[in-house]
Subunit: 77 residues, 8 copies
């Protein structure tokens, strides 16, 4: 199991709707609007790093209004 924070930049004016839609995606635990260089921060989990990559590219990045995502996998070191 791999968990990750996903730092998201949205198109201007669309942060709230993007956060709400991301919360509806399976595997996503939380998603909040934030101020600063990112617009939405989400937490998600998947079986392994490849499934996590697929979740981000095939599910989250497909949403309308997403400009960039930055996936930060949690590591237990």
């Amino acid at each position: 199991m791999v968990q990750a924070y996903i730092l998201i930049q949205t198109e201007v004016g669309r942060a709230a709707e993007v956060a709400e839609r991301i919360r509806g995606i399976e595997g996503v635990a939380e998603a909040h609007d934030v101020t600063g260089p990112y617009d939405v921060i989400a937490q998600a989990g998947a079986d392994d790093i490849d499934s996590l990559g697929s979740l981000v590219v095939a599910r989250i990045q497909r949403l309308d209004g997403i400009a960039r995502t930055l996936t930060c996998p949690i590591v237990n070191i």
Copy 2:
């Protein structure tokens, strides 16, 4: 009351008109064109951090010609 600096990147060639429109928004005290990585810097205030977020997303980001905004709330520490 929360005050913030809002660092704004505009679409190319549109900094001057964006700055002028932002100055017309209620809650905005100042907005200037600048050189450097940002094109316009504004100062604004709202009742709390949520209202500030709404001001940025619902009023400033709705303006034509805005590419990215970066909100930096002032903190008294």
Copy 3:
């Protein structure tokens, strides 16, 4: 109440100890080591934006091994 994600860069080789110490600070709900441009991501809460600023500057930034922090307050818009 204001919640925030705090994106943290540590001095090289010190991410694990920093994450552990941050988890012991009152007001911090979670802190994890991550890969990518940040080394540790934490979630914390405080009464208002000023208390949040104080928590970050007076408690988290005082820890040995912290290089930079980037506070992203959650906004409900």
Copy 4:
């Protein structure tokens, strides 16, 4: 006369004292602690762009606890 915003990163834990000292420098109109990628944002003015450069390098950057400054001159376009 050239006015500028100066976006400042401080060493960790030193934002408050830096902001206070910058407020005491001649030519500086305001300086506030902020959250986000910068720690302090100041506004200052000088006779021309060279004097502004000198103000930043010779006065502000000489302060203890400053890590990086980013000067954004205001332009009237």
Copy 5:
């Protein structure tokens, strides 16, 4: 007189034509394609910081294929 370096990001695949057109603008001394985070670097001069801002916004940013410009005025300190 104010001189500046202008660091330019172009739309993908258009660096060469952008550099060539910028070389044709009055006030621009040089413009070259480069590798790295910027695509074209130009040198230009104007009477003062406001005229420099106008040169960048009204002449350079108006060119087709420009995505972002970052103006770095030269200071004699």
Copy 6:
């Protein structure tokens, strides 16, 4: 002969197809999808720095779905 790493940002949702097409370009040795601030990292070689620039601008940046490329030439120092 100049070798380089090319760090690529793609439009959202298109990393996989971009990586596959880049692998088909002559002079490209490898191209992989990655997580983090870049979406695809490729390795390529050309006769000299100018040919490398041409490979990136004329071949890679022409692909549909590329947003930004950052070429990092290998140097033997």
Copy 7:
């Protein structure tokens, strides 16, 4: 098995010695000096994302002369 590119910033003047030492670490396939925002780019592999995190923090970041590392895990999507 997880593979990754590791983008490394070194202290000034130390890129060559850092690249050479990284090449001697078990799990590292390649490491080269580059120009651009990073100084050295390495490729490495580990059993899983946690072991990769440990390789970076416990082996690479322990080297003298490393300032920042940015790990970009390869994903097969």
Copy 8:
């Protein structure tokens, strides 16, 4: 022959002395203090990309007061 712009960040308060010393290095044509995210911008040339890398690492980065350099080779495309 390879020409390059070298974008330099200095330690705070040391931009002027760094620019002056860089101007004295063989192969450097110009070096100026600038405002913005970089403190000094230089232009230099060398026989090939490897010699350019050596010039930057062995000569420029050895100077006291340099924090980071970003080399942007000019390409003729």
